[in-house]
Symmetry: C2
């Protein structure tokens, strides 16, 4: 039976999603636990990798389990063997052809920034701290420059196994909301597209932060998008601010 | 100069507020850092103790520092020497007679409960997990029984150095709100009073949870409040759900 898993993780203590020797990874933990239940090696496929320190509120994975479980029992058995920083929120039976990565049609990420002199201990794991003032309206305008279908060479890692760097960004919003636990405003960059290259969201977030501090103009961003020159993009923003929010399937 | 500090901490990795030998405590950390700046032993007075695992979004402390600092510089110097799970949000100069405990006129605590089959990793440090269904409306009705001036013997620790167990609860609300990060409803018990005895909020929260599960009736609660019999109160709810929200000063 093929299952679709909805997964959350606090990425702080993981070396990212992808299984690696001698490192604690989310995929590694899930494969360990599924293999325990199955009493055989089991592969777990995620919708995509997330880097070390990146969080997920809605990662999706697919896995084949032959032992008979109801979805609810499977969820309980998985969670019972995982540390509390990763949780399976939902388990559903999926059609045989469902694959978390190949069936995905898009994703939404959120990048969170606490824009205040001090960052609350309740947010320091989950948001980037920027004590310098940020111009939220201007970042919102700049976000619109990123909409559309482009080659994202300037905003991605040099190393990639992707066959093309062309991706389409369909939504990109910037919002600032007061958060009582932070005792400060939290700025959220929400970006949706059909897919993202490695470091792409963090590179775009870093560029937007430079706009917010008045250090980057719109022309430079346009030129970077069109010409693909990495030196024109902003510095990659830290991993802890980034969260995979949702994966879409048709 | 006397200073008033507004402090947040994630209580997970602290053995509570009060300084103890060979244990990491919030007061201990603050005294260590203040003593570093002052190059002499410095005492830090909190508005009250919090137990191991209990959080604070708005703890208040007072401290005397003789070296010349602006409030902003003092805040920076303190935060620069603290781990990120405790932060000084604000520093203000305070009148000489200000004392965080003796000047306090009241406090608000919040007790958070994730009422869903699975608790999100983003909330497992900060909220109690109750997978069984809870009747929120009934808990809200029960909360009203606790309003007023009473002897709280039934709802507090046997051991206390308090001279009287009489306290007045002025507000007590129960609210359930959908939280997108939890992917579930979070129930909040918010309780305000002129002061609270040790374990009092957690004992009341535990009693309310029993009401929510249909295990405790209103008459038993009334009898416990009036008669002071501990066996009639609920089981003390776990520390991680509890957060000191605010301390009031006239």
């Amino acid at each position: 039976m093929n299952y679709k898993l909805l997964i959350q993780y606090d990425g702080t203590d993981f070396h990212g999603w992808q299984v690696q020797d001698n490192q604690r990874t989310v995929q590694g933990e899930l494969q360990r636990v599924c293999s325990l239940l199955e009493d055989a090696d089991v592969g777990v496929s995620g919708s995509g990798r997330t880097d070390a320190g990146v969080h997920a509120e809605g990662q999706v994975a697919s896995v084949r389990i032959t032992r008979p479980f109801t979805p609810e029992k499977l969820r309980g058995a998985l969670n019972g063997n995982l540390w509390r920083d990763v949780r399976i929120l939902q388990v559903e039976k999926a059609p045989d052809e469902f694959h978390a990565r190949f069936s995905a049609s898009g994703k939404t990420y959120v990048y969170r920034v606490v824009n205040a002199p001090v960052i609350s201990p309740f947010w320091s794991r989950y948001a980037h701290h920027e004590p310098r003032p940020l111009d939220v309206a201007r970042m919102g305008e700049a976000a619109r420059l990123f909409l559309g279908k482009h080659d994202w060479t300037a905003f991605s890692s040099v190393n990639t196994d992707a066959q093309t760097r062309v991706r389409t960004i369909t939504e990109f919003t910037v919002e600032s909301n007061w958060d009582s636990r932070a005792n400060a405003a939290i700025i959220e960059f929400r970006i949706t597209g059909d897919g993202f290259l490695r470091y792409m969201v963090r590179s775009i977030a870093g560029t937007l932060l430079e706009v917010g501090r008045g250090e980057k103009d719109f022309d430079t961003i346009q030129t970077a998008i069109v010409g693909g020159e990495r030196s024109l993009a902003g510095i990659t923003a830290p991993a802890n601010g980034l969260t995979l929010l949702k994966v879409y399937y048709n």
